[in-house]
């Protein structure tokens, strides 16, 4: 389903002017706090009115300043999972779950109560009250509640923000399940690139109220000029791979992609499954010749296509590894010492152990 968003509004000193389209199952709205992500969600949900613009989900126009269309929230059929859940405190979990369903016209109800309840493992919680739930449980109920209203689009506003770091993986797992099993399009707001890589196909990069870039996650992660926005520490290329071998004795998995293969430790996936791997630029080294007698297992041959021009002690070097972009962050000093230049053939070295669980997304 196609989502079209084109909104503008002045909010005090902050100007939001954002337009993007996406047909992905999961579209990530990514950017630093205060860049306008939640504002965009509120506009899609009808909680905040843009000054002008157009919002459409599929062939249904929710807002259009040109024609004066502005559906009230209650009629938009947009599920919204708020950062802190916002369960109704005076109702039980069961009543919260069925709240939206009650207002959904019979013909539009696609969500099956039993299916959603078991998908999110909510059965043991049904008779509890929201105040007796942990952060993760609240968030699961909030997701279930939004889904049971049979929305045409699900908005998730940093659903992991209010959860202990240790339990975030659990919610991510449920979001993945719902992405793969329910099929409702999702707009997912986050400022953690890790979540974006793991969940989303498309990404909209917001910066100071406007769209800095939008497109497939893989493509955007491979662009050096966006690294300032993605984060110096976390930026890097994303590679789509397929598991070709799981070696149980060494604990290493062989992941094949167009430009070769990566050996990664402790991959929780079966042979044949596809896996998205984020190769952080800071974990990639460059060598002019293939080194011998070295502990690093992943040596990829590639051509330099771009050397970042930003100031500072480090530079990002973009390599083309048989069509797959890989970014290496090295010191400016090394780039000079090795006399790196665009067009040059080099080796990219990636430590297997640097590709940890947080770098993998199950696509």
């Amino acid at each position: 389903m196609r989502i079209e968003v084109d909104v503008a509004r002045q909010l005090g000193a902050f100007r939001l002017e954002a337009a993007f389209e996406s047909e992905a199952v999961v579209t990530a709205l990514f950017g630093r706090s205060g860049c306008g992500k939640t504002t965009v969600l509120n506009m899609i949900a009808g909680l905040l009115r843009p000054e002008r613009g157009r919002i459409a989900v599929g062939d249904r126009v929710l807002y259009d300043s040109a024609t004066g269309t502005d559906l009230p929230s209650a009629q938009r059929r947009i599920g919204y999972v708020f950062q802190d859940g916002l369960l109704l405190p005076h109702l039980s979990v069961r009543q919260n779950l069925l709240y939206g369903r009650f207002f959904t016209p019979e013909a539009g109800r696609w969500a099956d109560v039993d299916k959603i309840v078991s998908l999110l493992d909510l059965r043991p919680l049904l008779e509890r009250r929201p105040r007796n739930l942990s952060g993760g449980e609240k968030q699961r109920v909030a997701i279930g509640r939004a889904l049971l209203a049979s929305p045409r689009l699900l908005l998730m506003d940093e659903p992991l923000a209010s959860i202990d770091a240790g339990r975030r993986g659990e919610i991510l797992y449920y979001v993945e399940r719902l992405r793969d099993e329910v099929g409702v399009p999702i707009v997912y707001v986050s400022h953690e690139i890790e979540e974006v890589v793991r969940l989303a196909e498309n990404m909209v990069l917001l910066s100071d109220g406007s769209v800095a870039a939008a497109g497939p996650v893989r493509e955007l992660m491979g662009r050096i000029e966006l690294r300032r926005m993605i984060g110096r520490y976390e930026g890097g290329a994303v590679v789509e791979t397929r598991v070709t071998e799981q070696d149980l004795t060494s604990g290493l998995a062989r992941l094949a992609f167009a430009g070769g293969e990566l050996l990664v430790a402790d991959v929780d996936a079966l042979v044949g499954e596809t896996l998205r791997v984020r190769v952080r630029a800071r974990d990639v080294s460059i060598a002019l010749e293939r080194p011998r007698d070295i502990s690093i297992l992943n040596c990829l041959r590639g051509r330099i296509v771009e050397i970042g021009a930003e100031p500072g002690a480090s530079v990002d070097v973009r390599l083309d590894v048989a069509g797959t972009p890989i970014i290496a962050r090295i010191t400016r000093h090394s780039a000079h010492a090795l006399r790196l230049a665009t067009g040059q053939e080099v080796w990219a070295l990636v430590k297997s152990v640097s590709l940890d669980r947080h770098s993998l997304g199950y696509a």
């Binding site: 009808g46 009629q75 405190p89 005076h90 105040r131 209203a149």
Partner: protein
């Protein structure tokens, strides 16, 4: 226990409770609407409205009673119209006593409800709207239940205020046994009669017991509702 009361005492007690109950129930919709307006909206003249709602708290009750007499008396502009159009008469009836009590209790009712409305996280109402609830449904299924502690507190305060109401009532509807003579008026009457001290004291004790009972009931109710809504009796 009621055997111990004389018929006239019983009459005054029943009338007091009836007047207070009717005044509270009748003023609740108005009180909620006013609290809603004051808590949720900005409009020109808001502080004026706020002041007017609070007037009964600061004005001498006799002023309220006299104004009611002028406006709602049989010859008064509103009273005459109500009598001719709907056949409703307030003057010298127990309904007039209830009207006076409602007006005197209104500021307390509005204050309590307003405070609880202001304490509601409005994003809960937004969440309900995204789930498909229309504005009226949001009001009925989120706003009212969440402001229930304030509504109950306000009703109790207004009820207690009504039980004690004297000045506005006696000025507006006079002191008619069996019609407008509530407990405070009855006590006042006995204190004006030689040898009525014992009677006045009996009624005073009844008054104290009645007020205590009202307070206790409301305390229990508020606690229960708080537990239901917020999970503790805060």
């Amino acid at each position: 226990m009621f055997d111990a009361l004389t018929p006239s005492e019983l009459e005054a007690l029943r009338l007091s409770v009836k007047v207070a109950a009717v005044s509270v129930i009748a003023s609740l919709p108005v009180g909620f609407a006013l609290a809603w307006l004051l808590a949720r909206h900005r409009f020109p003249g808001k502080s004026m409205l706020d002041a007017v709602v609070h007037l009964p708290l600061v004005l001498p009750p006799v002023v309220i009673g006299y104004l009611l007499l002028v406006l709602f008396g049989r010859r008064g502009p509103i009273g005459q119209w109500l009598d001719e159009t709907f056949g409703i008469v307030f003057a010298f009836r127990w309904t007039g006593a209830a009207l006076a009590c409602a007006l005197m209790g209104l500021p307390l009712l509005v204050r309590a409800i307003r405070q609880s409305l202001e304490a509601i996280d409005r994003r809960l109402e937004s969440a309900a709207a995204t789930l498909g609830a229309s504005r009226l449904w949001v009001l009925a299924s989120v706003t009212v239940p969440l402001s229930l502690p304030g509504i109950i507190t306000g009703m109790l305060l207004s009820f207690a205020r009504s039980l004690g109401e004297f000045g506005a009532t006696i000025t507006f509807v006079s002191n008619i046994p069996g019609e407008t003579q509530t407990l405070p008026l009855a006590i006042y009457t006995y204190t004006q009669v030689p040898g009525g001290d014992a009677q006045a004291m009996r009624l005073c004790i009844i008054s104290v017991l009645l007020s205590l009972a009202a307070l206790l009931v409301s305390e229990v109710l508020v606690r229960r509702v708080n537990v239901r809504v917020y999970g503790d009796a805060h």
